[in-house]
Symmetry: D2
Subunit: 355 residues, 4 copies
């Protein structure tokens, strides 16, 4: 409920800039007694880590997380969990161009308009580097919801979607693109290589699904589960669209075509479809919670773009240096983290009100 804090009962607060000494997060409200160590968090950070393939930025950050508080003898104590990652590879480049001119599509102009000036080194606070702390916080959140399995994948890069007929869960971590479709992964390799060589960039769609969410999580009306997910996903850098279940496709459907009929099942109802994405009236139904997230292509491209300087003069800018040709790819662990954080928060909220 605040500028740099997310969540209501399980809350996390992040701080830090792209080229400052460190980035950090405080996870507050975590239940006590959960096993937690750096080793529980690091694997998720490693999934998001830059510099691991030629398809991501070449910045080299080990992203080694340290737990500074809230854990004692290997278990959470219920007090705030301080997490810190030192920035290591802040390349001492010349920032004079980006300091004096606004990169279109970046936050440069908006930050200056709001704050009067900005930390322009690597995008400062607006850098996607902040998402590392979401991933770290998300790893803590996963501990709060052991009954839930959260997984995300890339569904589309640019104009190249996967085929769901080739969907193979086991493939997701077997390629550099979090693709569940190995054929699409091969195609994407070429597409991204081409974009990278051209100094261009590509958008992507990420899908995230949470299985095992029991019915009853979510807090109507303004903390609806879907509303919280929309807020959380839309706060991720470069995200421009969020869908729950069928999303915009639902707007094309008829009431009959969009129905999720129910039958008696072994354990509560069995649903015959999941157009709703596991949420009705803002509350989970027990079906998988499903979200689609659109990432725009990063605005860091080599093609010169018309822009203005801080002094309002016309100029052109092109982004040299290290960047992701498709930021959506590394968005996968971030989307997963936000899903876990929202669900964990709602689990605790539900427990608060309904026991």
């Amino acid at each position: 409920m605040s500028f740099n804090t997310f969540g209501r009962v399980l809350r996390f607060t992040t701080f830090g800039e792209s080229h400052g000494p460190a980035i950090g997060a405080v996870v507050d409200g975590c239940p006590p007694g959960l096993d937690l160590s750096e080793a529980d968090i690091q694997p998720f950070l490693d999934k998001r880590r830059p510099g691991t393939s030629r398809f991501t930025t070449q910045r080299q950050e080990p992203d080694a997380v340290r737990i500074l508080s809230g854990v004692f003898e290997g278990r959470t104590t219920g007090t705030p969990i301080g997490l810190l990652i030192d920035n290591v590879d802040q390349r001492s480049k010349d920032y004079s161009e980006v300091a004096s001119a606004y990169r279109p599509g970046h936050a440069d102009y908006a930050y200056d308009a709001k704050y009067g000036f900005r930390d322009y080194r690597g995008g400062g606070r607006s850098s996607a580097r902040e998402t590392a702390m979401r991933v770290a916080a998300g790893a803590v959140a996963r501990k709060v919801i052991p009954e839930v399995r959260v997984r995300a994948w890339v569904e589309q890069i640019g104009q190249h979607p996967i085929l769901y007929s080739r969907f193979d869960d086991a493939q997701i971590d077997n390629n550099a693109f979090f693709s569940p479709d190995p054929v699409a992964a091969e195609q994407w390799e070429k597409v991204i290589d081409a974009a990278r060589k051209d100094g261009s960039s590509l958008g992507a769609v990420v899908v995230c699904e949470a299985e095992g969410v029991p019915p009853g999580w979510g807090a109507p009306l303004y903390a609806k589960l879907d509303s919280e997910l929309a807020s959380g996903m839309m706060s991720i850098n470069a995200v421009k669209g969020v869908e729950i279940g069928d999303g915009f496709a639902a707007a094309l459907a008829s009431g009959e075509g969009n129905a999720d009929p129910m039958r008696p099942g072994v354990d509560g109802p069995e649903f015959l479809a999941n157009h709703a994405g596991g949420i009705a009236g803002g509350i989970s139904t027990g079906q998988p919670v499903r979200v689609r997230v659109a990432f725009k292509p990063t605005s860091s491209i080599l093609t010169p773009v018309e822009t203005i300087t801080r002094d309002g003069e016309a100029t052109e800018i092109r982004t040299k240096g290290r960047h992701d040709p498709c930021v959506g790819i590394r968005g996968v662990p971030v989307v997963e983290a936000m899903m876990a954080l929202v669900l964990a928060d709602q689990k605790l909220l539900h427990r608060a009100q309904c026991g």
Copy 2:
């Protein structure tokens, strides 16, 4: 930041059920000294009011709002503004079927799973009737942002979009569908009549644009302007998708194709495109803020759908009685209200931090 409260500095809280005695809202944090009377609010409620054409539910509600507090001698005092609308046309129908069986796609099952029981009369709290209070609160919010012009329209009903080549702002309020395209409006009339006769329903896409938003509103990272808008829009009944600017289309674009180049303008920069929807890094850029919202077709249809009873037995249900064949239409003033509420809140937040 709470279940039935939205906003951070300018907050509103709603209460009330579809068939209870009244629905209400409390708008807190409103600046003092603004002219405000019921006459400022009623026109927006009238736009949303049911029973005004055959294309909406036939429930007859005058939706006459009363201001109970926070206004003195025609001006806001800075204290909470209590708003109340009496429910008038709660038809005393037989609710036994919906009480004992779950309507798929509605919140029936989810509410029962969460709360153990539910007010089943007309959907209780999960009814879109609550959105009247958002519209009332939104009318107050508009007073806070006189510099901004908020308007929304229906872009698509079912599979029938408007043509932007025929876009005429003046048409929006001239037809029962908030269509800026008079040709589409005629087509929709037939489409909805058909759906209504079949007891079916249709989805819709609503677009909302806010002009006059100065650069600098928005609060990174977790109160980003786009994040707040996503949260607010997704909390509206039947909404399943939210896009900012190009939204999912941005995922298909290249970095070049998605750029919003800037030139020196008369009053700050002139932008050559608005793929971003007026927001960069979570902060307004001065361009029109543009949101697209997907409404699903209502699940209240005459076709019987498989479902279960509260006792877990198999049954079928079909929704008799009054309902909207296309809830997205009446969503237009609600979407506008949420836009105004988010912007007003962010205006005040910006003033708090940046003076």
Copy 3:
């Protein structure tokens, strides 16, 4: 966490002015399934109601509360509970004096300084009339904590304290002063009569105790149980001091004298003293939670007091019309309500985090 909202998980929001059409509250986050009707709330309002004896203001308000939402078939549904009380006896007196001059000790000047103008009729929003809604909300909160017995009493009026050697719980509701000491009650009758005749006013100290609070409620560090109680109590009109346990007397004690030794008891520890007032480290210990609250004498007195007009001219003012000679008396049910509201909120918060 907002201007007119109190609480974190169980929250209430109030609205309304002394001489507006109505005052109201929204209680949000209440657990579902609790028995609740107007009859559960009215007795607490009747305790606080004005005009019941010559020792309180002569304004006649039935304070009949209506539940507008959140209750179905006699039970809370988990949705927001709307509560409304119509104002009945807003005497149409001449407000020109108080409109144009500031009553020292009242909020008149401060409201004008903040908001630029004010609803001066009966104090507007700053009137203690608002506390009726706290009492109503508190009655709901009591339902959330059936394990807790909350009771308050007047310990002192002006310079006349009760004797604890005469403390008799059963006496509290047997006199007009909530005095557990019948001898003090008789004395107070004379003291207040004298003050009333002189057009003067008296301060009071109210003590509130909650028995049955289990160990473990409270949320360090900034939602400590004592911190929340201090905030809640200090927000009551005319309150100028709050103590937990021994309060300021603890500052005079030595560590030995302030110790609360523990012994093995039947049901957890048995404490040999309760200097701490039932709270350690911000968390309940299982002992009675004890708070002392200081009410100043109301500033509404007949003696002329030097002041200034809205235009900054020197003048004198004396308060004619109806007022309480000792507002602390009617503070008793308000203090109880705030205790219940804080405890109920903390019970739910504890359940959220610790299950």
Copy 4:
């Protein structure tokens, strides 16, 4: 509004335990463009720092603060300010006794009751070590309110008060006790030496005054300036009572005796008294804001006290090792910090609503 976060618009979140690797804070919502460096924060930390005289704990902590984010080229950027202090002197003592038995008056039992176990090293999260981060955050808050002068002093130690006839502002920083009365300071030296030698402890009263607060800060009803101060002060370790203005003494006064008459002054009204402590109706009046805070004697004493073990067995405990004989002394900079933090937050809130 959360467990370890304080404030509404200017918020700070703290983390860290007494014997963990570090303690930290995140200050969020700070206005941009303020000059800020470690040198602005360190002097306040030095005032609170342990080990500087024989009258405080002998733990040696340099309390060197590092700014990790939110500052660029010497000025705040408007993004969250991360602050970190490494713990240096966590003495590797034997904690077996405090791990297995509860120290009465400490949070030991309450933490165990709430969380199931606890970090017992030096009190873990419940240690007053956390207050270092409040002091650091408070130094940032002071930058937000340059128009305000905040100062606190010790008014009483045990049963030994200062004489206000000897009050000398310049003396406060000239002795180890923050005493404005040099005679009292000499007396206290003996009193505390005696307590220290006896292994006993003493309570204290701290007074804090803020001059220069303009009229209009404060947000009725549940964010009243006095309510916020009460909450903030009562959240400090060992605090058991808070008074605004005359506090409990006001309860003894008559309406006439408690009046703060007003006269036309040069710059708004001139007040003839300040019984109210600078706050009316929850809003500042322009007079000095004055708070009194009661600190209990620490429960860390050498005299054995009856208690129980974690297993519920009877035992005795006495606190060996380093501790403050009078924690109230080092409370002075903490009280000042909370005053500054509340005022800065309310300044921004006021700006949000009232422009």
